[in-house]
């Protein structure tokens, strides 16, 4: 706060408000808002309802519940926000050669990309995109030698609903402002054509920062996800390739990575 010098003075504090500033600018720049974000909050909750480890496992959410949740920092309601979680996650990284002999089938890293616009929110011009996701995504896809059409599911860093929208938009799944149509009709939900955040994500499973998307992608590829397993269990495609990412600051750092079955 002292660095920029004027945030606390004017009652500005925390990540919710920072991302809300970005989301508001996006509402102005292209057509988005709660009408789009409700599909993300509700869609991810349906995945959490299939995940016994999810904090929100036993609690359903309708569009009415979404609109009925309290404003925190407008344009964000409570249900646009991720959870706060105590816990831990771990992932073992080894060579493909060693992994071939392991008891569980491994997930293989196909490609990686990073891009960090870095400017803090007060000076940021990228808050309505393109964020770091654009170049990070291009780099990861280039290294992987695949295109968006090859992706079977996404595990996206979802500190807020808007973060999911701008990340998928910058990866190229839809054009700016076409998110509402893209998310409509359960595209990201169980049974949908592009499952997103299949554990419930940070919005509805648990907030383990970048490890929420990472561990879920690995577990899905291993086939260890029980009732929420991508495949016949959820009327979706058994995943060959999953697109994942992490994000930091207020859209200031971005890592994209693509995993596949061996």
């Amino acid at each position: 706060m002292e660095r920029a010098g004027n945030e606390a003075i004017f009652g500005h504090s925390g990540a919710t408000a920072g991302y809300a500033l970005a989301a508001r600018r996006a509402m102005h720049t292209f057509h988005t808002g709660p009408e789009t974000w409700k599909h993300i909050a509700v869609g991810q909750r349906k995945w959490a309802n299939l995940n016994p480890s999810a904090m929100m496992h036993g609690r359903t959410m309708s569009f009415e519940d979404y609109y009925g949740s309290d404003w925190l920092v407008e344009p964000f309601r409570l249900f646009d926000n991720c959870l706060i979680t105590d816990g831990g996650r771990a992932c073992v990284v080894t060579t493909v050669e060693r992994a071939r002999d392991l008891r569980h089938p491994p997930a293989v890293i196909m490609g990686l990309g990073q891009h960090n616009p870095s400017y803090d929110i007060q000076q940021a011009l990228h808050m309505a995109g393109p964020t770091g996701a654009k170049i990070a995504g291009q780099t990861a896809f280039e290294m992987s030698g695949i295109t968006l059409d090859d992706v079977d599911a996404c595990e996206i860093y979802d500190c807020f609903t808007y973060t999911v929208e701008i990340t998928l938009q910058d990866y190229g799944f839809f054009k700016p402002g076409e998110g509402e149509d893209w998310f409509r009709d359960g595209r990201i939900e169980p049974g949908g054509s592009m499952p997103v955040n299949t554990s419930g994500g940070q919005l509805s499973e648990a907030y383990f920062m970048g490890l929420t998307p990472l561990t879920e992608a690995v577990m899905q590829i291993m086939g260890r996800c029980g009732k929420r397993q991508l495949g016949p269990e959820t009327n979706t495609k058994r995943p060959e390739i999953i697109l994942c990412n992490d994000n930091g600051g207020i859209l200031q750092t971005h890592s994209c990575y693509i995993l596949r079955r061996l």
């Binding site: 002292e2 920029a4 003075i9 004017f10 009652g11 408000a17 508001r24 309290d70 404003w71 007060q122």
Partner: protein, 135 residues
């Protein structure tokens, strides 16, 4: 009445700005190499890395780049202000400045809305630059 909200913490970079505020003047650093007017204050220009700098007086006019409406106070001293508006104002001279929009209903604020600076003398030492809809 005691002022309970956070106040500016001055350092060698920021003191000229807050001294200007005491005089009800909005002052920013301008790079004399490339002309970039910057905020927050710093010893070098973030665009061209020159350390050649002058302080200029800004007009106090700008427009709302983005804004949010707080419905929850994250600091108890702001509780009585709810709902209040925090905005990034794009000043005529270029810098983006985080501040409050006052003097209108939060529902009346919009992106690109023209705004003018208004001074709030909160303590004997400090005046805060806030913004209201342009007349």
């Amino acid at each position: 009445m005691e002022y309970l909200k956070p106040l500016p913490k001055l350092n060698a970079d920021t003191k000229p700005f807050w001294d200007g505020c005491s005089d009800h003047e909005l002052r920013f650093q301008k790079c004399t190499e490339c002309g970039h007017v910057r905020w927050p204050p710093s010893i070098i220009c973030p665009l061209c890395y020159s350390n050649k700098t002058e302080w200029i007086r800004a007009s106090g006019k700008g427009k709302v780049f983005s804004f949010v409406v707080y419905h929850k106070a994250y600091h108890p001293a702001f509780e009585a202000d709810l709902p209040y508006v925090v905005a990034i104002v794009e000043l005529e001279e270029g810098p983006h400045f985080l501040t409050n929009i006052v003097g209108c209903d939060p529902g009346a604020v919009s992106c690109e809305m023209p705004v003018d600076v208004i001074w709030e003398d909160v303590t004997e030492e400090f005046s805060l630059p806030k913004f209201r809809p342009a007349e």
